[in-house]
Amino acid sequence: MRHFLDFEKPIAELEAKIEELRQMSEPQGPEGGINIADEVGRLSAKVERELRGTYARLTPWQKTQVARHPDRPKATDYVAGLITEFTPLAGDRAFADDAAIVGGIGRFRGRAVAVLGTEKGSDTESRVAHNFGMSRPEGYRKARRLMELAGRFNLPVLSFVDTSGAFPGIDAEARGQAEAIARSIDACLAAPVPLVATIVGEGGSGGAIALAAGDAVLMLEHSIYSVISPEGCAAILWKDQAQAAAAAEALKLTAEDLRRLRLIDRIIAEPLGGAHRDPQAAVAAVGDAIALALAPLAELDGTALRARRRDKFLAIGHDTLI
């Protein structure tokens, strides 16, 4: 059963009609079948027009919902689709393995790489297992460990970011959530290997930047990247969570906004109607974009990469915003 968002109602109704017609076409005679096929074709074209229209002018708040769509491909889908010989590596070597961040080594189009991803899970069971993509300190410490390992063995790092943010919990704070995130950012900037980060769903605040301070930062077309959730921002600045749509607008959190502000390097186009309508195509598009981003970086040595990466972040706000 396909999951529809509120603003997709006209599309949902059309597709329900198509489904109904398809069910009818079975027991009927050949003439009826032809008419039904025509009608299905006509409705399908309408669905496509409707999708094109709707998805071409999604509001920031609608994009937020697309970015959080339950059927949207998750970090592990990208790993499964793009990485061969994937070998998960676990643990922070101090306290635990945090499943909100998955990591390991494998091959991307033949080249050995290290992989990191914030994983939200795709059904109730896996969502709970991955703590809805909200990592505790151990996740960021694992990320840091794997980035350091990648540096020692000259493996480019690919990260897939999809998180509402770091886990706000008593245990997380007690074990140094802030320190773990700070060290993970530190590790990103210090890595002597290419780091290509892709925001595939939600890029939520410190929990996202912990894995995304990279040489190339890519964003899927309908993903979001923000310092705070629209709901959180609305609660604080508007004192009213119902103003989330206004906050989403004001925060400039869409891929287009971030590209315009020069905070990301590239937008990856999504299949018509969003990545959740054609996960395979979305995974392939992300793979192509990563390959494109990685090629020029692979030519630079560790010192040059680090200097370039640091300069890139230090330059934010200089030539671009004033």
Binding site: E173, Q177, A182, G232, L237
Partner: protein, 287 residues
């Protein structure tokens, strides 16, 4: 001296009525609720002499209480784009900025100076909680980077006093980018072989804690400061549990291994001088 706070204050109140008491003459201790006489409170460096509570300190005053008298010079910080998002909630961001500037006399939530602490040269950056909650936007990030560059240039340690409610939401993802930018600043100081010392004051939360603050070679906090990543209310709503006693306070973080020490305000300059002296001797000898 408590006769002044305990007996004179109520008398003044009855004589003049609440409204007529000049606001700046008396401050109520947020911890023990005692009324503290302004001149005396300043003399105690804004520490309540009844209960020892450390009240917040305006950033320029902090420079005065940290660096050797007459030794320091305020540094002009780089200008950044004002209101790049044209942000407006119930108020325009540009109006919030203007009001904060009028209220504090500061450009943004960071002041930087270079001078000496106990005779040791140092670059000191102080976050101003009084300026939009010490929130970190491009100006604060740029100021931390400038302070780091100055420290490297002067071959001096960098000391940052933190006080922040977190990110400057009105700058959206630009404020988020100040996390890696300030981490890059710390890396510059580290690579130059210079000490980076953070002094965490009340409150230090959000993206400021989760970036440069937690990368100190030595991390000192004032007593009783609220320090954490997530806000206490958000945590309470998420875990639906009562927060433990003293949660996210300096002493709690010290007990959990996240800080090196908790130091009273009066002892900070001497402690900083000692730490700088110990960490920079080898550096000076090598040079």
């Amino acid at each position: 001296m408590s006769w002044l706070t305990e007996y004179v204050r109520p008398k003044i109140r009855t004589l003049l009525g609440r409204r007529e008491v000049p606001d700046n003459l008396w401050t109520q201790c947020p911890s023990c609720q005692q009324m503290l006489f302004a001149a005396e409170l300043e003399r105690h460096r804004r520490v309540c002499h009844h209960c020892g509570h450390h009240l917040r300190v305006p950033a320029p005053q902090r420079l005065e209480w940290t660096l050797d008298a007459g030794s320091y010079t305020r540094v002009e910080l780089p200008k950044v784009a004002a209101d790049p998002l044209r942000f407006r909630d119930t108020k325009r961001y540009t109006d919030r900025l203007r009001e904060a500037r009028e209220k504090t006399g500061l450009e943004d939530a960071l002041v930087v100076a270079h001078g000496t602490i106990g005779g040791h040269k140092a670059v000191v950056a102080v976050m101003a909680f009084e300026f939009i909650g010490g929130s970190m936007g491009a100006a604060v990030g740029e100021g931390i980077v400038a302070a780091a560059k100055l420290a490297v240039l002067q071959q001096a340690p960098l000391i940052v006093f933190t006080a922040s409610g977190g990110a400057r939401m009105q700058e959206g993802a630009i404020s988020l980018m100040q996390m890696p930018r300030t981490v890059a600043a710390v890396q510059m100081v580290r690579e130059a072989g210079l000490p980076f010392i953070t002094v965490l004051t009340d409150p230090t939360t959000g993206g400021v804690t989760a970036s440069f603050t937690m990368l100190g070679d030595v991390q000192i906090a004032e007593p009783g400061a609220e320090i954490g990543f997530a806000g206490a209310r958000v945590i309470e709503q998420t875990v639906r549990e009562k927060l433990p006693e003293g949660f996210q306070r300096s002493e709690y973080l010290l007990a959990h291994g996240i800080l090196d020490m908790v130091t009273k305000r009066a002892d900070l300059p001497a402690t900083l001088a000692r730490v700088i002296g110990l960490l920079t001797v080898a550096h000076q000898e090598a040079a």
